[in-house]
Symmetry: C2
Subunit: 328 residues, 2 copies
């Protein structure tokens, strides 16, 4: 049995989509228990494996993260994080305020001993549908070479445990493939990665080939990672918008669009990274999954499944033994 704590109040369409996702998750997985934190007035489910806990407060999207976590002691997000800290839950999921969730992770759940900085990880789509693990996408805007080395160790374990890749290839995101390319940070990081034996370092990878599907884990600093993530989203959205305009620009185009509709939908689904679940704050002493703020029920369900797999695979224990052990 795996027990996951869920924040019912976070996200643009909460609690509706959260309840729908939780319902589907407990129906699909007979070995899953949910501790659900939220407002009892809005709680509409009733299920033997859902343990509902009423909370009087809620962290808003515009709340200042650290202050919110420190002051709103009876919020669904704080209570959820405490359930992980106490060991009552194996992991937790929220679609709420990202900064607040990161603070809850850092200050309530806490870091694994020996991990200097947790990193935010996502799985991004590739042309071949395989996807790749990408970190840090924004936990720390500034990073040193030693941090990137540790991100690589965390990402390596994540790819093994969550994505089931036996010996993942780990690459460094850079502006050229040669070892001497890049800025001071990537050049020094390259040297560190080349010198270690903890993971299979396969050199630099460029942003233009990220979607080709040749890499399992890609490591970068939080500033660059967040930049690339938003750029991917933005470019895909802009191209989608222009394509839609083209398809609706004349009667004959509309007819052609109708013919293509099903295949184009499949195509845009392939680009949709909510399919892979949420982002995870790696390096914490418990699994903390952040579902996208605009998650629908399907995306939130994927995030719950992801937390469940992390619990089953004992990913935190593995990180504690390997990364924590070598650095602490």
């Amino acid at each position: 049995m795996v027990k996951i704590a869920v924040d019912m109040m976070g996200g643009d369409d909460a609690p509706g989509i959260v309840l729908e996702a939780v319902k589907k998750a407990v129906d699909d997985f007979k070995d899953l228990e949910i501790i659900l934190f939220g407002d009892q007035e809005q709680y509409t489910l009733n299920h033997g494996r859902i343990d509902f806990r009423h909370c009087t407060e809620k962290i808003e999207m515009e709340d200042e993260p650290v202050r919110a976590i420190k002051r709103k002691k009876d919020s669904s997000m704080v209570k959820m994080a405490e359930a992980v800290k106490s060991g009552e839950a194996d992991g937790c999921v929220s679609a709420g305020n990202t900064g607040a969730l990161m603070s809850a992770g850092l200050f309530i759940v806490g870091r694994i001993k020996g991990v200097s900085r947790p990193a935010l990880v996502v799985t991004l789509p590739t042309i071949d549908g395989k996807g790749f693990v990408f970190l840090d996408v924004g936990a720390n805007a500034d990073a040193k070479p030693e941090h990137l080395l540790q991100y690589a160790q965390l990402g390596n374990i994540y790819a093994q445990k969550i994505r089931g890749i036996k010996q993942p290839s780990v690459s460094l995101l850079n502006i050229g493939t040669e070892a001497a390319k890049g800025n001071t940070l990537t050049k020094k990081t390259y040297e560190l990665m080349e010198a270690q034996n903890d993971f299979n370092f396969t050199g630099n990878v460029e942003a233009k080939t990220l979607m080709d599907g040749n890499v399992d884990v890609v490591v970068t600093d939080g500033f660059t990672g967040n930049m690339v993530l938003k750029n991917l989203e933005g470019t895909a959205k802009s191209i989608g918008k222009m394509l839609k305009e083209t398809l609706l620009s004349s009667f004959k185009n509309k007819i052609a669009a109708l013919v293509l509709k099903k295949d184009l939908n499949q195509f845009s689904q392939k680009m949709d990274y909510s399919e892979y679940g949420g982002s995870v704050l790696l390096g914490l002493d418990g699994t903390v999954v952040k579902a996208h703020g605009s998650s629908n029920a399907k995306a939130f369900y994927s995030a719950i499944r992801q937390a469940k797999i992390a619990g089953e695979q004992q990913i935190v224990q593995t990180m504690r033994e390997t990364v924590g052990g070598t650095n602490g």
Copy 2:
């Protein structure tokens, strides 16, 4: 009359596309003279406003940049840069080895007094077809806040002179729109930009809204700029590839694709930034335009036109008086 020096030997499809582009440029612009540097065996044009100069050497794509510039004294690229340095030509264009061209710019043409580092600038497409000026896309991988401030001054002049925007909005590329967002570099740069009166600073811009067309000039360090540029290229290419596969995946799709063909071509043309010309190394004491290595004749022609406009608009003189004057 504007005089542009052209490297006939650089680029994947040189000299064929260079000769075609030069021919069209001298035909279209009666006030344009070209000094063309290359191998006389391959020179096939004959025109009153083309001054051909034979060179015995050629810089290859795989040549080490600085060494190539220092050793291949009779190469078309070195000779072209010397023509700018001596004042014989108003500017120059090459589709050859980017690093070598940057070295030729730095060591032969030289910097404007007071400019600490030149920056590579491109114009990128937006949904509304307007485009925006983006720098630095890779001249310097590491940058300090003062460098970014100077890039902004250079980009501001470029947008005014080359793109004809009277008072360009200048934004800082960042991972959030608020002033306090970002890494150490962007936070300090934000303060510097906010404190100056040389250009119209409009705050931070995120990578996901770059293509929306709300900004005229976007400033970043060479590492991030190169990353975003390659990411844009890569994402657009990957989506294009997947779309093409969808369109060719069945007989009915092929028919629909035929109906859409013209409009889809227009759409991909909108995304094609070679339309806006090449990239320019700003901050040098002469105009140096880098056409894409895989340029076709049309893209190379755009790069020549761009160098011509820069000459007419006396962009280097303006930079010398403003940026050079305030910092030198």
